[in-house]
């Protein structure tokens, strides 16, 4: 009885504490997640989620794959950053993926995702992503969930307004965040207005294999290009970019780039630019940039250095680019599913302008301009405006859309999602987020055919949402049900890295074509051992090449002798398995790089340089069978110049034939 009283007392104390605690915050979670929220996000054991959520990793340089509605993490998919877990960026085959004109760059800041579309709708072929720091774009296969191509962007000071794509994935764009002097010119920073330029690259996507090539670049006025979206439907053929720092400040931008009432949305007629390029009007510029591709037959990447781009200076072609004034430092620049409305989110403004594509076209036809900026026409604000969303909240950043004509805008400063009607501009609902939402995602939200159902918030601040883990906390994502009139918080889930933009796509569009194995018959790796009969060890000067096979549960060869100090050993490991979910791993003591994980039918190579004589064990790192612990071997390292004969075997006992 006494015990029971104590429990009651403790419980009361707990509830009391919780109540006091929550009253200090904007609103406690209990006030928001209601009723049957748990059942709406519960995916029973062995069942699949309804959506894939493809989430940028921000400063981890990777992409994370989650299930929606459960919020379960399925995969961390390395793109611009090395990943010792799989050997990405460490294996000989994948090192070239991270090559750039600056050499091997093992990290980047991955901000935005673009899923390929056909006729403006998701087609489930590729994931595109941007590298913000050392300007790059990447293409990831939706079949293998692996990075297949990375293209460096020359003439760029930071690839932020990227990798947004056109309706049929004809192009993705890469707009420079920071303007810079082109051609690596040595000039005073204070000569910004005179010498600094913007650059927007149009990267052509091969419709069959997805291969990327820079078709042309637009040379644009020197300020900051933030985000962008392609037109669709009636506005197909146009691209829209948000621009800030039209003050052209080069120091203390926090203050100096926030002086004007309005910056710009830049409207680009890319079909017109295409025409000029076809007429040979592009100027060839000498540049250097790396183009890296991965081949899933040779299981290897190659890096090629490209050396020119075609450039159109928009000041010489007055009908490619138009500016539209947009309230203070616009961030998001989002096009609704019909392609008619363009939402500019001025992050310092108290309202959000929505522009009409039809009105923009009329304004251009009637030359309804208020002047020009560096020779580029500036359309009159009212002439392009559909209307303003009044007092939407503080710090509007990004807008996604549902299939019912509604928009959802993230409000960073006031920590909320605001739902409003695109046509009437009427605010319909608002829900708090915990805390300081950045991007948000509605499944299919940026496409012509949103899938709707949920909106996911990617918050910048986590604070007290999860068990504390020291000064650094995981980021918090939140899932809201948007199927009814009111948005309802269903779930918090932690995310890795720092998510920026994300997209969600129905699982049914992806799962049927997901790669399960690589066919061993189709393995064209030059060091593949397609069967144990091909396993061998070869010496080429001071290089030792081990053609090794792995199958449950042995490595062949597993005894290697005749290696000498000063040699470099290349373990080319072929996984002979042909069943789903049976990778093998390979690691050797003292390796200065990482392990490698080898998928069924694949060959991957770990380079190892022994530093002392002796006998060194190696083993399989991926628990593969009941006899996994037995899956190991030894390599003997003899002194330099010794004459230990080169030999290798598996299952051979000395003294026996």
């Amino acid at each position: 009885m006494k015990t029971r009283t104590t429990i009651f007392k403790m419980l009361a104390l707990l509830i009391g504490t919780a109540a006091v605690f929550s009253s200090c915050k904007p609103k406690g979670p209990a006030d928001v997640a209601m009723g049957d929220a748990a059942s709406k996000v519960y995916v029973a054991p062995g069942k699949y989620d309804e959506f894939y959520n493809i989430v940028s990793g921000g400063f981890n340089g990777q992409i994370a794959v989650y299930g929606i509605p459960s919020g379960r993490l399925f995969k961390i998919l390395p793109v611009f950053s090395v990943f010792p877990e799989s050997g990405y960026g460490y294996s000989e085959e994948t090192k070239p993926m991270l090559n750039t004109s600056h050499g091997f760059v093992p990290w980047d800041d991955l901000h935005h995702i673009a899923l390929s579309t056909t006729k403006g709708e998701h087609d489930g072929r590729w994931i595109f992503a941007n590298g913000n720091n050392t300007p790059r774009v990447a293409r990831v296969s939706f079949k293998s969930f692996r990075t297949e191509e990375i293209l460096e962007i020359p003439n760029s000071g930071g690839n932020h307004s990227s990798p947004f794509i056109t309706e049929n994935t004809e192009y993705l764009v890469a707009g420079t965040r920071f303007s810079i002097p082109m051609d690596n010119k040595d000039v005073p920073i204070s000569s910004y207005k005179e010498n600094f330029k913007g650059s927007i690259s149009f990267v052509k996507i091969d419709p069959v294999n997805g291969h990327m090539n820079i078709a042309f670049q637009l040379r644009t006025p020197g300020f900051n290009y933030d985000l962008s979206r392609a037109g669709k439907g009636p506005s197909h053929g146009w691209f829209f970019f948000s621009c800030y720092n039209t003050e052209q400040a080069y120091t203390l931008l926090e203050v100096n780039a926030s002086q004007k009432d309005k910056d710009f949305i830049m409207a680009v007629n890319w079909k017109k630019a295409e025409e000029y390029i076809a007429q040979g009007k592009g100027k060839t510029e000498k540049v250097r940039y790396a183009h890296n591709t991965y081949d899933d037959k040779t299981h290897s990447a190659t890096s090629k250095m490209e050396n020119e781009v075609l450039v159109l200076d928009v000041s010489e072609f007055p009908d490619i680019v138009y500016f539209i004034p947009c309230a203070k430092s616009p961030h998001g620049c989002d096009v609704d599913p019909t392609g008619e409305y363009i939402v500019g989110s001025g992050k310092l403004a108290a309202m959000m302008p929505v522009f009409s594509f039809t009105k923009i076209q009329n304004a251009i036809a009637n030359k309804d301009y208020e002047g020009d900026f560096n020779g580029i026409p500036v359309i009159k604000y009212e002439a392009a405006l559909h209307g303003e969303v009044k007092k939407p909240g503080l710090g509007p950043l990004h807008t996604e859309f549902d299939e019912k004509g509604n928009a959802y805008t993230s409000m960073f400063v006031s920590s909320e999602i605001v739902k409003w009607n695109v046509k009437t501009l009427e605010i319909l609902d608002r829900v708090p987020t915990y805390y300081s939402i950045g991007h948000l995602s509605v499944p299919g939200g940026p496409t012509a055919k949103p899938h709707g159902k949920y909106v996911i918030a990617y918050n910048k601040i986590t604070k007290d949402r999860y068990l504390p883990t020291g000064p650094e906390l995981s980021q918090s994502a939140q899932l809201y049900d948007i199927s009814g009139d009111k948005m309802r918080l269903l779930l918090d889930f932690p995310t890795v890295g720092e998510p920026h933009y994300a997209e969600a796509i129905p699982a049914s569009m992806i799962t049927p074509t997901s790669t399960k194995i690589y066919k061993i018959e189709e393995n064209e790796h030059q060091y593949a051992a397609k069967g144990e009969a091909q396993a061998k060890v070869e010496r080429k000067g001071n290089e030792i090449h081990v053609y090794m096979t792995a199958i449950r549960s042995h490595l062949t060869p597993d005894n290697i002798e005749g290696v000498r100090l000063g040699d470099e050993v290349f373990f080319h490991v072929t996984n002979l398995e042909q069943d789903w979910d049976v990778p093998h791993g390979f690691a050797i003591k003292g390796a200065a790089n990482a392990e490698i994980l080898i998928m069924p039918g694949e060959t991957q190579t770990l380079k190892w340089k022994p530093l002392t004589t002796g006998v060194v064990p190696f083993y399989c790192t991926d628990f593969c069978s009941a006899l996994h612990q037995e899956m190991s071997g030894y390599i003997r390292i003899s002194p330099a110049g010794s004459n230990t004969p080169l030999k290798f075997s598996t299952g051979k006992i000395e003294g026996q034939p």
């Binding site: 062995g46 699949y48 194995i517 066919k519 061993i520 018959e521 397609k530 069967g531 144990e532 009969a533 091909q534 096979t549 199958i551 449950r552 549960s553 042995h554 062949t556 002979l576 398995e577 042909q578 069943d579 789903w580 979910d581 049976v582 628990f623 069978s625 009941a626 006899l627 612990q629 299952g651």
Partner: protein
């Protein structure tokens, strides 16, 4: 170590992969019950020709070298899996081809396959061998067993 083994075996038997197996196990098992010595799977009857088909033998050996030889010797020596010597004399051709092409169901339901699993303690991997390729391997096994 023992607990690890039992854990792995347990995990391997659990129906946790919605798309890993093929067809409806229960249904197929009922159909197959007529002749348990033929195993479980798509192979109901196999026609064997004499003399051996040389083209099949060549192809069968190539597949053996790439996908099977790591675990099966051509002698009667057991390494990871049983040696292949005299397998065609001990098993029906249908059983052999079902074991090759429908390995997960065989290991889960066929008593003879389960005996081998207890012996080897290693689930034979599904090596993604087509029906045609399995027939070629069978021909190679017959040659290995001395048929002409």
């Amino acid at each position: 170590m023992l607990s690890l083994i039992s854990l792995t075996m347990l995990a391997a038997c659990a129906p946790d992969r919605p798309n890993a197996g093929g067809g409806d196990p229960a249904k197929t098992a009922v159909e197959e019950i007529a002749d348990p010595t033929k195993g479980l799977g798509q192979i109901k009857s196999v026609t064997l020709n004499t003399p051996l088909e040389q083209e099949r033998i060549g192809r069968g050996k190539a597949i053996y070298d790439m996908k099977c030889s790591a675990c099966h010797k051509l002698t009667d020596q057991r390494v990871v899996g049983p040696g292949w010597k005299d397998v065609t004399k001990k098993r029906k051709p249908e059983w052999i081809m079902n074991m090759i092409t429908n390995v997960d169901m065989m290991l889960d339901e066929d008593p003879e396959a389960q005996k081998l699993l207890e012996l080897c303690l290693m689930r034979m991997p599904n090596q993604n061998v087509s029906l045609g390729d399995a027939r070629d391997i069978l021909e190679f096994m017959r040659e290995n067993d001395g048929e002409k």
